[in-house]
């Protein structure tokens, strides 16, 4: 089980780099990219938790999280293109 703490440490470092880009990003698209990547990293967190605890509901969280992250990213991208959300 010790190796799982190493995995969580690496993923935590990745998400802090995403947070750095969200905070420092010079333009709005940079922040959008970082939010998208952070969503996928969280899916990795949920998968590791489901292995550690042998429970399957963490993967339900992962599925719902990836869906919502995708929809949010598409909405932000449409906003960047200067169009309405229902086009």
């Amino acid at each position: 089980m010790g190796i799982f703490y190493f995995f969580f440490l690496m993923l935590l470092a990745s998400s802090f780099m995403c947070l750095y880009r969200i905070g420092r990003g010079p333009s709005a698209p940079d922040r959008t990219v970082a939010v998208d990547i952070l969503g996928i990293v969280v899916v990795g967190f949920c998968a590791l938790l489901s292995v550690m605890t042998k429970k399957d509901f963490y993967l339900n969280i992962a599925l719902a999280w990836s869906l919502l992250s995708f929809i949010g990213t598409i909405a932000l991208a449409k906003h960047l293109q200067g169009r309405r959300f229902d086009e």
């Binding site: 880009r21 998208d36 990547i37 990795g44 992962a62 598409i74 293109q81």
Partner: protein, 112 residues
């Protein structure tokens, strides 16, 4: 045996995730960042889910992991494509070291 295969796949995936995020911090402009992070984080998370499948065998966790993997492999490049088009249309310039930009002519023609 399958436990060892699963653990090595998870390790590889986590390393790819990490290097993708290093690329997100290091590279100079948004298009390069988008390339590095999308490729690495998509394959990294897919490898983690694949390792979950190998470690659990044939049960409910594996089915959900496979569905999640297919979903990520389909949606992540689509989101990257939408963001890059949005970034170009909202006026983010390419990095100054860029060699060629053949998209500018197309955008000008569309505006006319």
């Amino acid at each position: 045996m399958s436990n060892a295969v699963g653990l090595s796949m998870i390790t590889l995936g986590i390393l790819f995730n990490f290097f993708g995020c290093v690329g997100l911090v290091r590279l100079p402009d948004i298009y390069n960042r988008l390339q590095a992070s999308t490729k690495c984080v998509t394959l990294g998370t897919s490898l983690v889910l694949m390792g979950v499948v190998f470690m659990n065998g044939f049960c409910s966790i594996s089915m959900k992991a496979i569905l999640c993997m297919i979903f990520i492999l389909v949606t992540s490049p689509t989101a990257a494509h939408a963001i890059s088009k949005g970034a170009y249309l909202s006026g983010v310039e390419l990095w100054e070291g860029s060699v060629v930009d053949q998209y500018k002519a197309h955008v000008k023609e569309e505006e006319r």
